[in-house]
Amino acid sequence: MGRYLLRRLLQLIPVFIGTTLIIYLLVWALPGDPFAGKCGDRGCPPTYIAEMREKYNLDDPLIVQYFKYLGKLLTGDFGETYAGIKVGELIQNAYPTTIKLAVVALIIEALIGLAAGILTGLRGRGFLDNLVLVSTLFLISLPVFVTGFLLQIVLGVQLDIIKPTVSSEPSIGELIVPGFVLGSLSMAYVARLTRTSLMENRRADYVRTATAKGLEPRRVIGVHLLRNSMIPVITFLGTDLGALMGGAIVTEGVFNIRGIGGLIYKSILTKEGTTVTGIVTLLVLVYLLMNLLVDLLYAVLDPRIRYD
């Protein structure tokens, strides 16, 4: 287990460097002078520009700049924006909201998706099964922003059940509808994945054996069938947290939530490269670590999988 973990962690390093390098190169390759128009009509004084170029290592080749940035990042320093605000602070302000939103979305999609999947997977073909299949198909083909707009109009404006936009320090209750919107697509996948997985495993030998040796149905389903069928679903849910945080940008835009989505969008438009790379680095880290966690969970769920 220890050696496996170490090997996996070592494998993360090239992927991490590769992803951040790509983003870094793309962001800093943006043509145009980042200091144009920063100091009003008269333009920035040359000494200021020289100082800034020195501070952000803009005169070095890009690759050198990147490794200098990475070095600072490893000490926990995310750098500063051109206005002198610490990027770490910006992220600290925006990150909790997005994490909250993503976790709410994950919980909603897991609860509804699993419930629908288990229900149809165990019952087999019938009206309920068709209903879930058709409604998930429909959810899959609705882009997130359309779902968001529709719920915003119907629930927020016409029925007046929720507020159409969310306050700056949103509570969990306010995030339920945005979370539902964000997680709606994945919810459909969770339901379908659970259903297929259960249907395939229901006829597996170990289930027949468990029934044959006289275990009560509840134990066969709960311990034998569900535990084994959850493996693909857990994989999906685990990797989805990173995707939800990265995808929150659209939902945050629709419901006016102040999370990292808005921050990153603004930073790209104003060429604040340090902020963009900082946030993307964090997102990539979340994605990679969740993947690792999921792989480790396999061993817990499936007794046939052992890492040594």
């Binding site: 198909l137 083909s141 707009f149 994945s186 990797t239 995707a243 990265g246 659209v250």
Partner: protein, 323 residues
Amino acid sequence: MTEPADSPHRVAVASAAGEATAEVVQSAPTKKNEKPRGLWGDAWLDLRRRPLFIIASAIILVVLFVAAFPGLFTSVDPNVQDLYKARDLPSADAWFGYDNLGRDLWSRAIYGTRASIVVGLLATLLTVLLGSVVGLLAGYYGGWVDNVLSRFSEIFLGLPFVLGAIVILTTFNAGVAVPSGARVITQVVLSIAVLSWPMAMRIMRSAAISAKQQDYVKAARALGASAPRIILRHMLPNCLAPVMVYSTIALGAFIGAEATLSFLGIGLRFPVVSWGLMIADSRNYIQGAPHLLLFPAGFLVITVLAFVMLGDAVRDALDPKQK
């Protein structure tokens, strides 16, 4: 795509991949004994009887026809503005009403079909080509080639879809004030493909790994067939099924992704007409004039739905486990 929206494409695969990869291995022995028909022949017979498949293909044929000949369905120029008619409701003159600038929504929805379909088709083609080539190579050669290619693909997999697309599109558009239509479409297609090919690669790779251990590949190698011949003549036809299923579902997802990018203001833009663009235009007026949102969104959803349904039906037909 979480991808919303993200990553719609990313998620689309999760289900397709899991269920589709196994089928090549499974189907090989079943088709031997009873019927002379191959995997595809079997699937075709099965598909013809499925209502889901018939409905989906009918919708897709209509949509493709509209994309090819938009002039047959409307005679109004989609970009002509008449501010007197701004946000007018649907009438006999204009079936869908007018948008905020007084443009005919029906005509725009019809002309928007082409951009959406072209982006979806090209992005799928590129994704599948790139992913299949890399996946076949990784699966066939294994060892360090596989390691390098897999790590390389993970780099792109780790990038959140919407975020990656925003960065790529702003970078390549930074110097250009008003990019031309063809240029914008190419950029959107490229950025979708660059961010999505790892999924196709993973599916192809796992199919290739299982195909490599089959007897027919061993036999071909024993007879002295070269690596390109084994890959192209023996492995490719047998690894195609899961990737085909992925590509149908991905096509729908990519059309949605294009709409998302256009909605964020970094995808397609004027003078190109697309559904995503129309939805983006409607966002400030949806409370007073919801028809601005509902009509293009309806077109979008029905088209995506048709492709996802088709993919679903094809997957079920190709999967011997469900018979």
